[in-house]
């Protein structure tokens, strides 16, 4: 055996798993996207799914809903997460370990349990209406349902991002702040001219993760609003699932999956171009 083969032998178990559970499904779904899977057995039909997706208003609704969540929820969450990280990093804060855990905890909670709780909270007779003195049917109103999804997502993921940003904060050299203080920079100026620029790679990382996560969003709209009312909270992930597993149209579902992948790719490239040059 050639000595050069050894590393490949070590990699073999991983490569086998990768080929079976990653490469093959990825390739097979590409092939599926060119088949008419509404008949048994499926037949090759190059344009049936890719042609449909351009004219499918339900797909465009799902895309619009997903982008709406992306544009509103992601910046909101990252702003909150940055503020939270700065607060958690402050020397003035007592019991920092406890707070760090507390804000991270939502990620640990099971998605099904927390979705059920959000449904109850935003029920017409729920705690949110009671606290606000409203009689608003959140889940069954198109705007209300979207608000619930955004609030739920923010609750779940802000702490997670804050912990990542916190790690970034702790990597910023203390000397930078000392120098800034010597130059007479106010705390706000320090944050704006020292903290934020130094956080850029970490924020970019959080942004890319959040955008990919949002493009694949399924759990919350499925469990809290079931994509409704109508299609008001149907995201690309929910629409894909409906096509694949409710309508048993795996060809079209694969096409949607490829569109999501392409979108994620495009978004990531744009971000790297805009923000990532120096890192």
């Amino acid at each position: 055996m050639k000595p050069g083969a050894t590393p490949y032998l070590f990699l073999l178990p991983y490569l086998a798993v990768f080929a079976l559970f990653w490469a093959w499904p990825i390739l097979d779904s590409l092939l599926l996207s060119f088949q008419n899977t509404r008949v048994y057995p499926p037949v090759w039909d190059l344009g049936v799914n890719w042609g449909r997706i351009l004219r499918d208003s339900a797909f465009w609704d799902a895309l619009r809903n997903t982008l709406l969540i992306l544009v509103i929820q992601v910046p909101l969450m990252l702003t909150l997460a940055t503020a939270l990280a700065v607060a958690l990093n402050s020397h003035l804060l007592k019991a920092r370990g406890f707070f760090r855990f507390a804000f991270f905890a939502p990620v640990v909670v099971g998605a099904v349990a927390y979705s059920a709780v959000f449904r109850l909270l935003f029920n017409q007779n729920g705690a949110v209406n009671a606290a606000l003195g409203l009689d608003f049917n959140w889940i069954f109103d198109p705007v209300g349902a979207m608000v619930v999804i955004i609030v739920a997502l923010t609750w779940r993921w802000t702490g997670y991002n804050a912990i990542i940003i916190l790690a970034g904060l702790q990597n910023i050299p203390k000397e930078l702040y000392e120098a800034a203080e010597m130059d007479g920079a106010s705390p706000w100026q320090q944050f704006w001219y020292v903290t934020l620029p130094s956080l850029r790679p970490v924020l970019l990382f959080c942004l890319v993760l959040s955008i990919i996560g949002t493009l694949q969003l399924f759990t919350e709209p499925w469990l809290i609003t079931n994509g409704g009312p109508g299609t008001a909270t149907t995201t690309l992930g929910v629409y894909l699932y409906r096509q694949g597993f409710q309508n048993i149209n795996f060809g079209y579902a694969s096409t949607i999956a490829y569109v999501i992948t392409l979108l994620a790719l495009v978004f990531s490239l744009i971000q790297l171009r805009l923000f990532g040059r120096e890192s």
């Binding site: 004219r55 208003s57 198109p142 109508g230 409710q246 309508n247 048993i248």
Partner: protein, 430 residues
């Protein structure tokens, strides 16, 4: 065998029952049944009677909820037939997707003993359309869903509304206004799901002889005149401010709280009202659904299900015995009718003396006569394998039309027809 014979002689249809159940009483094993809501409870109610004949078969009924039963069934079939029960409940409308896409996922009941073809004449012919493919029989008809209006006698009479004079939807809207006026707008005349379901549209369309697809399942017909009228009526009801909007759970909450005077549903809803609001006994009655024009059809069908046996079942013989006992004997069907209001599709059961009896919960009205009396006028409609896809599109279209996003019902349904056509590959009928 003695037990079977004893039971058989006790019943008018002795020979038929003994024949249908001709199974070995020493059958052993455990079977699992998937179903939902009242339907699951009704099957559960049949277990003691079944165990008298087959004491060694343990039946476990699992209530998964309606949508989850469908979703998990399809997922199981798509995965090659794993994680499925021994007896599977499926709505007639949604059934065809299973047999067309996964022809080997379920047992051809003609291959079992006795063959399903021997049961053929015991059920009306239309119930078999969605359950057979060529010579294969995939499921046995269970109940049907003739649509009626369940109403609160006390609220109607307090508002001075006589249900016998409600013959058209215009009459119904007028009645709704009277009820609202008499109760200071506290009580609505009905509950319509909007944005979550299109069941009112489907019931009214069916009444008008229209549906998503034609009865051959070869073209989209959702933009035909009968459907246009149906959608217009749904909007008129909502615009009049006389109905609540809500889904399955909201409707139950509303009738329990007494804030709704009518529920329109397939007759299987009888058991839902009776078991959820026992305290309202004697206050309810039924009348046939109003027509879209004077003298028009006052009947439709919503729902109605069937039982199938997945090919992966390890206990097909026991499963088949249970299916035959529950669905193909008068005893099984009348048990489900009595306890949970499931309308039998077994012809012998529709002639059982029980259906002639006045029902105390319903103010001693002979409701099953009223309900079964509409069966003959129900226009045929076929779900096809694309039912769920068409329904998802229609739920959205109805919500958009009600919200005023289309100039007319015709325009809304033209758009829906285009989308359904794209989704299914079927042409829009001219």
């Amino acid at each position: 065998m003695r037990a079977i014979l004893a039971l058989g002689t006790a019943l008018a249809l002795s020979s038929a029952l003994a024949q249908q159940i001709q199974g070995n009483p020493n059958l052993r094993g455990e079977i699992t049944v998937w179903s939902w809501d009242i339907a699951a409870k009704a099957l559960e109610a049949n277990v003691p009677g079944f165990n008298k004949l087959f004491p060694n078969v343990k039946v476990t009924v699992v209530d998964l909820g309606n949508q989850a039963t469908y979703d998990r069934g399809l997922a199981g079939c798509a995965a090659g037939g794993g994680d499925l029960p021994d007896v599977y409940s499926v709505e007639n409308n949604e059934a065809e997707v299973f047999w067309t896409r996964f022809p080997n996922c379920f047992t051809d009941l003609n291959t079992l003993q006795p063959a399903a073809s021997t049961l053929r004449n015991l059920f009306p012919a239309f119930k078999w359309t969605e359950l057979t493919m060529g010579n294969r029989v995939y499921a046995i008809p269970w109940d049907s869903g003739p649509v009626v209006m369940f109403y609160r006698r006390d609220i109607y009479s307090q508002a001075g509304v006589n249900p016998n004079t409600i013959r058209t939807w215009d009459d119904f809207i007028a009645a709704g206004r009277k009820i609202a006026a008499a109760t200071n707008n506290r009580v609505k005349v009905g509950v319509i799901a909007n944005g979550q379901d299109d069941e009112w549209f489907r019931m009214l369309a069916n009444q008008n002889g229209c549906f998503y697809f034609n009865n051959e399942g070869t073209a989209v017909t959702v933009n035909q005149p009968g459907c246009v009228t149906a959608l217009e009526t749904v909007k008129r009801l909502i615009d009049a401010g006389i109905v609540l909007q809500g889904g399955w759970n909201e409707q139950i909450q509303a009738f329990k709280a007494g804030t709704v005077a009518t529920s329109m549903f397939g007759a299987w809803y009888e058991g839902t009202i009776r078991s959820n609001a026992p305290e309202q006994s004697g206050k309810w009655g039924v009348y046939p659904m109003p027509a879209s024009r004077p003298g028009g059809v006052r009947a439709a069908n919503l729902g109605g299900s069937a039982l199938a046996i997945p090919a992966s079942s390890r206990n097909k013989e026991a499963a088949w015995a249970f299916v035959r006992y529950a669905l193909a004997t008068t005893e099984g069907q009348i048990t489900m009718l009595k306890q949970y209001g499931l309308v039998p599709s077994l012809l012998a059961a529709t002639r059982d003396p029980y259906v002639q009896q006045p029902q105390p919960y319903w103010g001693n009205q002979r409701i099953w006569q009223v309900i079964l009396g509409t069966l003959g006028s129900v226009p045929a409609a076929r779900g096809t394998q694309f039912f769920q896809e068409a329904r998802a599109i229609m739920v959205k279209t109805q919500a958009d039309y009600v919200a005023g996003r289309f100039p007319s019902a015709k325009a809304a349904l033209d758009a829906a027809a285009q989308q359904i056509s794209q989704a299914t590959g079927l042409p829009v009928a001219r």
